[in-house]
Symmetry: C2
Subunit: 206 residues, 2 copies
């Protein structure tokens, strides 16, 4: 019964092993919650001793942080090479590409926003914050508002808030099915433009 393949220890390059373990961790943390996933689980699926996971990542939390970091990366393709037309069209294209990406990586993306938690963790917050900043820049660029200086911070804050709605709406689409893709497209495009063109100018500047 030749099932005893791979039971002997195989020596790998640290980078490769590290990547392999990280991949398993991403899958596990995506599927179950932080506290229910044990290092033993991850080690087992990776076909490796538990101590090795600790060796490469230090602690469970650090491993988790790596996973979150990797998942938060929004592909740059979403806001690349936008045609120089109206802000409306550019945002529309942007949203469309975003929906495309999300639909394609459905599982992975759901995990990503699903695990943005573990409580009030300052480290997690920092990672999320950085991801949000990047995303915000891209949206402003698409809406051709990147060079606004007056009240810039308020504008950015509103975009960040909007991205929360974006996440929630995407979940409504993918998980609950209450909104369709075209609904999302209309809703997200219009609300961004509404924020930027109508709400933002209406804020009294103090």
């Amino acid at each position: 019964m030749g099932v005893e393949r791979q039971d002997r220890r195989r020596r790998m390059e640290p980078d490769a092993r590290r990547a392999e373990i990280l991949g398993v961790a991403r899958r596990q943390f995506g599927a179950r919650s932080y506290s229910t996933v044990s290092l033993s689980d991850i080690a087992a699926e990776a076909g490796v001793a538990r101590a090795l996971v600790s060796h490469y990542f230090g602690s469970k939390r650090q491993l988790y942080l790596e996973v979150v970091r990797q998942m938060m990366v929004v592909p740059a393709s979403v806001s690349e090479r936008l045609p120089p037309t109206t802000a409306e069209e550019r945002v529309s294209i942007c949203v469309d590409r975003w929906l495309e990406v999300v639909e394609r990586n459905r599982e992975m993306w759901l995990s990503a926003i699903g695990l943005e938690a573990l409580g009030n963790d300052p480290e997690i917050d920092r990672i999320m914050l950085e991801a949000d900043e990047i995303a915000t820049d891209r949206v402003l660029e698409a809406a051709m508002m990147a060079d606004i200086t007056e009240g810039r911070e308020k504008l950015r804050a509103m975009i960040r808030a909007h991205s929360s709605m974006l996440k929630a709406a995407s979940r409504e689409w993918l998980v609950r099915g209450t909104l369709g893709r075209s609904d999302l497209h209309v809703m997200l495009t219009r609300t961004v433009l509404h924020l930027v063109h109508t709400v933002f100018p209406a804020l009294r500047d103090d």
Copy 2:
């Protein structure tokens, strides 16, 4: 040195003891993250044996669920006794009351939205969902859209998504100070109305 007060065990009514422990738990889970708060910590601050906490709440997770449940309650006062004027004014009043509540219970509210996670927990999801449903009803009532039947689910889904933006924007206000209270008022009022009056009718119904 008479520091030995209260070191003897005091017998209390189950309800009172339960409430006392729950209060401590609320504070602790609000201040630190789920996994870093131990039952020992809670028991210690409550001046009680660890086993008693387990006795009253069964498991750590169940205690946590209680805390979340209690924190998610949005005071009904926000949408009570709205004058029968335009939707705009009613929503405006609603938002204003909301901001009032949040400002008053700043710490508590921040804790509440801070802990809405722990990963992919179906129980937590259910609790959040129920809270969202109630909040959504109130918003629709305020906007005088409560009797819409055509596309009702889409409308509700949008409102739920909007409430995510509301939370994020409130955090921008309370934590980062990037938006002021009046900014929030303008932004939240306008976006709700925009969703309900402009975006919603624009969705193609399929």
